[in-house]
Amino acid sequence: MRSISLKKLFLLHSWVGIVTGILLFIVCFTGALAVLSRPELKIWANPELHQLDTVPSEKVMTLINHYHQQVPKEFGKNIHVYLPTGHNTHLLTILFESHDGDENYDEEAAYAYQFDPRNFSLVNQYYGAADYFYEHRKTDAPSFIGHFHADLHLGRPIGLILTGFLGLTLLVSVVTGLFIHRQIIKELFTFRRKKGLDVIVNDAHKVMGIWGSVFHAIIGFTGAFLGLATVILLPAAAFVSFGGDQDKLVEKFTAMPETIVSNNYQATAIDTILLDAQTRYPKAKVIDLTVMAHNDANAQVYLRLIGGDAVASQLLQYSGDGKFSKSMSSFGDIPGPAIKVLELLFPLHFGNFAGVFVKLVWALLGLTTALLPLSGIMMWLTKRTRGSNPTLSEVAYQRWNRVIIGSCGGLVLATAILFPLQVLLNNFIPVQLHNGYFGPLFFLSWLVWCLFAVLPINYYRYLQVTLLITGGSCMSVLPLNMLLSSSHAFSSNNTLVTVVDISFLFIGGLIIYVSQRIMAKRQVLIKPTTQEVTI
């Protein structure tokens, strides 16, 4: 490749990295955590799910039948049941929905009943707009992080467009990065960990970038697709094919078309259907079911399954009498290879296609995607302070470092604080008030930490304190849980809870160790000059 082309690619790589670097870190870091948010961290965060096995199918049917009697007739056409698996709500939720609303609501309205999965007692009931119910469901630390990753809590469409475009810029960075690092084989195995911090950052950037290039490209592509699909891509596609009517397009790709009610009574065999699904796919987990025209001769039941031998989530269709109809993708029974590829985009982005091990690999690789723009910015800054004609003064260099620590380190710190907060909320604050705590604490702690960057403090000390507080927050989870909660690492009889509690302790310890190592390296860099003077 000609040197001018390489120069152009190098500049383009730098520009994209500098402009989007901090935002990309924010999205990728929270994305790495979001991989483990559902169901693992969600189960950990909700004591109701600690002792849970599977909900008895006959109990689900009894509850649906009982509460169907209590809602107006039009609300029996669409019934959604969210099982407490850690993928949706933390409670067993039965939602009776009327798409056309009722005498009080012009929009979709719903009656919702939520039950404690441990004893099936009614915990919460709701009547109102369906959207309001979904938007105000109880959140927890892992769900908060997951939503923040998806749209930065900026709402839709702005948040989705922003994260979608960050996926696109990640793709550009991967493509240009692979071209400019031509000595790929050599750089794959170059990591000089005993050298100074600058060299370590440089080597780490190349090693993480090249080894993880396929992963970064997949995350960039799938992230761009997931962010932009509903906001830009689908409306654009609907423009010609459906005369701009996006609803018609969605209808085309919906797996659950409206069922015509015959008004002939026939009991819907929900228990038989649930048992059949578990027999057909014993390794998969039923996460929710939709009942159309409940207890009608035309009733249809759809079960959404995740895990097992299938890579993507699948939808099983049954007729009301319990007869299995077919298994299909979440988008419906659409032929052709394109839908197969589309189905794969979701598990490839979330890493939820082959158990916890793959999820852990995805989370670690996601952390490297987050560290790439950060190390890139650090390299860019260092380069500009070196040589006989530096373009960046020492003061400006320190200021930039503080900005990075405040924004990126502040995010890590604010995220870490959410987990001990979760333990405290679970033990001191009524569940219905939890939602009000995560946002303010997260954004406030992040903002305060960003504001420290304005002060002329030593950025090494700033980094060390950031890491110490982050590590301390993680380490406090296990003792807090042991002190306050009856269900913790050593008492819950739940391996997941034990592993998560101990992992927090380990990760916290590791972060504190890293902070000490960085300071030790700093001391080594300063000491030789003093020693020379002493000698």
């Binding site: 001018i4 761009a224 032929p335 052709g336």
Partner: protein, 95 residues
């Protein structure tokens, strides 16, 4: 590295990469649905899935081309042709 020697017409390239590449890639989606020789579902899904690659290619091309007018012409041709195809389809020329 001197930016002036590396890129010509940097501002125009920024506009091409950040604005025109996006508009072109978006307009290509409905346009492609009119001529792809597949079933309706595939006609819709394939352009959607190609969008990230098309945008990335156009974005990089806007900077890599020897002169800034080259990507401008290429994008303009793609944009106008796909907009025209969409318009014709909407007018009933194609299903």
């Amino acid at each position: 590295m001197n930016k002036k020697h590396t890129f010509t017409a940097t501002k125009r390239r920024h506009i091409l990469a950040c604005l025109l590449a996006l508009i072109t890639a978006v307009v290509m989606i409905p346009g492609m649905t009119t001529y792809l020789p597949f079933a309706m579902e595939e006609q819709i899904l394939i352009p959607i899935m190609l969008f990230p690659f098309i945008w990335t290619a156009l974005f990089i091309y806007a900077y890599m081309a020897k002169s800034a007018w080259q990507p401008f012409i290429v994008m303009l041709v793609i944009l106008l042709s796909h907009a025209g195809l969409s318009f014709m389809a909407l007018q009933g020329g194609q299903g």
